[in-house]
Every structure is written in C-alpha cells, then in structure tokens.
C-alpha cells in the first residue's frame, strides 16, 4: 500500500488538481457550446512554443518560451471574443475548429516537415502524468488558485454571458471585454493543465465531468459537487487500471471518465433496480479485471524509475545503466521530444548503433541539441558506418556542405575543421 501511494500519489494529486479547476471551466464550456476550445488553445499555444524554439532556440522553461506562449493565448482570446461579437452567421465553435486546423498546420509548417511534427503532437496528446514532480504541482496549484479565485470573483458576468450572450449584451454587459478576460483565463488554465496531463486528459476532464453533472443537476453547486466526485473516482480507477495492466496513465483515466459517462447515461434512463444491477456488474467486472492481473506494480515502477533517470536534473543521467534493454531504449527514444530527454538517453547507452539512432532522432527534433550530441559521438571515433549515419544526419539539418570523412578519425585536420564549423553554426562550446 505505501508503495502504491508512492507511485501513484503524485499522478493522482495532479489529476485531482486539474479536475478541480477544469470541471468548473467545463460547465461554462458546455453552456457556451465551445467544446473545441481545449484542443484549439493547446494547439495555438504549441505554435508559440515551437516558434520560440525554432527561431530563438528558447528552452522549455525560458522567459521567451513563456512570453511567446502567453502572447499566442492572448491573441487567441482577442480573436475569439471579437469573432463571437461580430460574426453571427457561423457558430463560434466553427471558428474555433478552423483556428485549430490553421494552428496545427502552422506548427507543422514551422517544424519544416509533417513527419517530425507528429512526434511532438503525439507527445502533447498523451502527456505523461507519471513524470509529475512536486515543483510542477505547486506551480500549477498557484496558477489554478489564482484563476479559480478570478472565476469566483467575476462569476456574475461570466455566468450571465454563458447563460445567454445576447441577453447579457442587451443588459449592458461589456461582452467583448468580459469574453476576452474569460478566454485569457481559460487559456492560462488549459496551457498549464496540458503541460501537466496532456491534451486528451485535459479534454476529458473539461467535458466529461461537466456533462455527467448536467445529466443530473441544473444548479452550479450540485453540478460542481457531482463533477468533482465522479472525476475523482474515475481518476483513481483509471490510475489503478493503468498501473496493473501497464497502459499509459492519461488515456486510461480518460477512458474511465468515458465509462462513467456511459454508465451515468444508462442510469439516468433506467429504473432503480436495473441501475443497481448495472452498477454492480460494472464494479464486479472492474474488480475481476484487476484481480486477473495479479502482477504487482512492476510496469509502472520501471516507467517511473526510467522517468526519474531521464529527468533533466537527475544526477545519474550520465552513468550508463545496463538495466535498460535495447527495446526499452528504442521505445523511449520513440517517445522522446525534449532536448534533455535525448541527452539523458545518450548518456544511458554506449552501443554505437543506439547512440547513432539517438543522435539522428535528436537532430530531427532539435538541431542544436542533436549537433552537440553528434559532436560528442563523432569525437569518440565510432565505427565507420555509425559515424557516417551521424554525419549524414548533421548534413541533413545543416543543408549539406559538411565535409566530414567518417573513414578517418575525428582528430584528422579536415574533420576537425568540419566539426569546428558545426560548433560555430550552433554556438556550441568546445
């Protein structure tokens, strides 16, 4: 039991934290019929992040990264609030849906080619709450508390607009300004929540608890109470399921939220005796499923250990860890996206084939990181074939013109000149 809490405690806390604010926002989202908002805002913010990264080489936590994502969120807030006021012919949901497509294309465009972008998209979709750390939780809690307080203080205007836009406007509410504030707050909350849980889970937390609550209650307080309890239950069930059967945590929790909704819809329409039978059957099936996999928490424990070794600040990152199989490394390489992850993975292995694969993948995802790794790799004088792979990768991102001869050692004068050119291009230290 203590081990269970140790492994799943932080992810569960992250889920509950996200749930507390998202189900509250979700009630507004349902009333305004802007279901697409989560996916669209996440994508628009991603454009800001990609832009800062590609053009200014801004890291994940740099000021520029935060400024450009915030700028994108503010831009989206202005756009949606003005469109809601001025464009009556099509629903705002359609405008949001189109803005999603444009933002997704923009991110792919900035990343250069489609294939690379999808790695990023995939990463953003499923997220990884297993990696949650106390610092992230505390920061998110602060952001959510501030946003929650504003939602609570400003609720008369927000509620009025959610209940009826035109009626509120006729009563003299400054709808564009209030909408701007609303979408800015929603943007902040969703950006922070997506960093923590991934788009899919945020979307599920936003819509599903609110929809379940809307099935049973009309007032704000009962709706929130229902949404929170169902969401907490689904989080717990989903995490246990994922831990036992070795699935990704985020999508599993989303799956159980969906199951809760289906059950709720069935219960709503059926007689009490039938409802009880359905509930009992569902609970029985769940317990049987978990009991059928008596395996302890092995998979999650190893994932967590891997996550900790891979975390940017982990001290052991540079030590080769023989405990990782090649398939495991390749699997993690497939999922890797952030520069620090590639560096950590590179430090974990010393097989030249794997190192060459990591270098090539890192070059695709982030040229400077990849170039730094490629330099380290080439200086270790790997076997010709793998050195050639890394050099080809470098040529690919530099647009050709790299005169590196992988048949000769890195200390060869011509090769040293070539590597110096790489260093200069990416401002790398010697």
């Amino acid at each position: 039991m203590p081990e269970l809490i140790d492994l799943l405690g932080l992810p569960l806390a992250a889920c509950l934290l996200a749930l507390s604010i998202l189900s509250c926002v979700g009630v507004h989202v349902l009333k305004r019929e802007i279901v697409f908002i989560d996916i669209a805002l996440a994508q628009i913010v991603a454009v800001g992040a990609v832009w800062a990264h590609v053009y200014f080489d801004a890291g994940e936590n740099s000021l520029l990264h935060h400024a450009s994502t915030l700028g994108c969120a503010l831009g989206a807030a202005v756009f949606y609030s003005v469109c809601r006021r001025r464009i009556a012919q099509v629903p705002l949901e359609a405008v949001i849906g189109v803005s999603y497509a444009i933002a997704a294309a923009g991110a792919l465009f900035l990343l250069g080619i489609g294939a690379r972008g999808h790695v990023h998209v995939q990463h953003m979709l499923s997220g990884n709450i297993l990696w949650t750390r106390w610092e992230d939780l505390a920061f998110s809690a602060a952001v959510f508390a501030a946003a929650g307080a504003l939602f609570f203080l400003l609720r008369p205007s927000f509620d009025a607009i959610s209940e009826g836009y035109e009626a509120a406007r006729r009563r003299g509410v400054k709808v564009v300004w209030w909408d701007f504030l609303f979408y800015t707050l929603v943007g902040l909350v969703i950006t922070r929540a997506v960093c923590m849980c991934g788009v899919v889970l945020v979307f599920a937390f936003l819509i599903i608890p609110a929809a379940i609550a809307a099935l049973f209650a009309a007032g704000w307080v009962p709706r929130l109470a229902i949404a929170w309890s169902v969401g907490a239950l689904a989080s717990l069930l989903g995490l246990l399921f994922a831990a036992r059967l070795d699935f990704s945590l985020g999508p599993s929790v989303a799956l159980f939220l969906g199951i809760c909704l289906i059950l709720a819809a069935v219960l709503r329409r059926r007689r009490r005796s039938v409802s009880m039978a359905v509930l009992a059957a569902a609970a029985g099936a769940y317990v049987a499923l978990l009991a059928a996999y008596p395996g302890e928490l092995g998979p999650v424990r190893s994932q967590r250990a891997a996550a900790e070794t891979c975390a940017p600040d982990a001290e052991a990152a540079e030590e080769p860890a023989a405990s990782f199989s090649e398939t495991e490394i390749r699997r993690r390489l497939e999922a890797a996206g952030a520069p620090a992850e590639f560096e950590a993975l590179f430090g974990l292995v010393d097989d030249p084939a794997l190192r060459a694969a990591i270098v090539c993948k890192a070059l695709e995802a982030d040229a400077p990181t990849g170039a730094a790794l490629a330099l380290r790799f080439l200086r270790s004088d790997p076997p010709f074939f793998f050195g050639q792979q890394a050099a080809d990768g470098l040529r690919g991102v530099m647009g050709g013109g790299l005169e590196y001869d992988a048949t000769r050692p890195a200390a060869d004068p011509a090769n040293r000149r070539a590597l110096a050119a790489v260093r200069e291009k990416y401002n790398l230290e010697d």
Binding site: L30, I87, G106, Q122, I207, L215
Partner: protein
Amino acid sequence: MSETVEFFALQLTLLAVALVLHTYIGLHIVRRTLIFSDLVLDQLAALGALVGIGLGVRYGTAGSYGFSFAAVMAGAGLLAVINPRNGRIPREAVIGIMYALALVASLLIGDKLAEGAAHVEKTLVGAMQWATWPLVFVTAGTYAVLLVFHYAFRRKFIALATNPAPDKLWDFLLFATAGVITVLIVPIAGVLLAYALLMIPATIAAMFTRSWGGALAWGWAIGLAACAAGVAASYRYDLPYGPTLVLAMGAAFAAAVFLRVILPRGGGQRSKEAEPCRN
C-alpha cells in the same frame, strides 16, 4: 505534357473534385454545429486500421481499408443515433466525447502494439503529392456517385439542418457520406488537410450567404483558389505540402473574418434567421 504541368493538373483536378463534396458536407457540419464529427470519423478510420494491424492486416491494403470502413460506418451510426434529449448537453459535446474516446482507444491500442506510435503516425500523415491518375479517377468516380445521390435527395438533407429533431436515417446517410470520403481521402491527404478541406471553405462561405447553392459555389471557388496558391507555393519554394495548403486556406479564412468584422452585418442586426441552426 511537361512534368510540372502534369503535376499541377493532377493536383488541381483531385482538389477540385474533392472540394465540391467537402464544401457541401462542411456546410451541413458548420450550420448544425457538429464540428467534431469529422474528427470522430477520422479517428475511427485510424482506429479501424490500428485494430487491423493488431490482427495482422497490413496498413494500406484492402483489408485495412475494410477495417477502417467498418469502424467509420459504426461511428456514423452512433453519431446519428446519439442525440441527447437533455437540453443542457449540446450534441457537439457528445460528439467531442466520442472523439476523445476514439483517440484514447487508439492511444491505448498503440501502447500494446509493437511500433504503435509509428503506425498512429502513418495514419496521420498523407502523401497527396504522390497521387496518381488512377487514384484520381477512383476518387472522382466515388465522389460523383455520392454527389448525384446528395443532389437527388437534397431536400431531405437540407431539411436536417432546420429540423430540431432530425430524421435518424438521413442523419446516418449524411455521416456515412462524410465517413466514405474520410476513408478515401485521409490516406491521400492526411487527417489535417482532409479536415481543413471540409471546414475552411464551408465556414468562409457560410459567413457571407445563407443560400446553399451560393455557399457551395463560393466555398468551392475560394477553396480551390487558395489550394492552387498553396500548391504553387509548396512547389516553387519547396514547402511542406499539407501544412502549406492548410495555411493558404487559413489566409483566406483570416481575410474573410477581417471582412466580416469590418463590414456591417448582412440584413442589419442579428435576426432570428441569422442565428445558425443548432441541433
């Protein structure tokens, strides 16, 4: 015929054919606020293909198309049948949840498949620049049949958009059409471009006219012009194909929004008819 001319002729023919039906279905989707329905069908097509891969059917084969088609038809059925009677839950929310669950199922299956992520990715990226004439003919033929069908029964379909309790059979046929074109176009164009072809021209047209014929003509023309510019830019400056086309249509959308915001509202103040139909 020189290579460049043939490339453009082929691309533009395919796009021109696709845009007619896409704009029309898109108009339904925009006017009825069922924006997520296309993503549901896309995701179900991908899910069907993934299930096929799990059972040993290779991606891109007829068997794999069969799995996608079955999943999409099941999805069209669900989309038509599930219509919440509870006024507090918009239909769009239910469709959004269906999308989320289909995506979750794909991700969870991807967890258990070897190379799952790569397969998921394959279903997302298209290869329209590799289109061939036979492919264009097959696509055009299917589209023509569907168009004739929709034209013959246009009153039934258009009635769906104004009826608060739409007929389930015709609703199913509408989603089934969207599903068929999804299964056909997504392997060629990729999810993002397919979705953009459906949504962007229709949204632009719906902003300016209420007539179905007029909106279809305008959407088709604007969409084709934007796509032609996108294909040319992609070819000339060697830009990524799909994103460039979407961004070209996005530029047209931005211009349309700008015009709509500065122009006085058509027909004066927001009237009862100007309110888009929601069901």
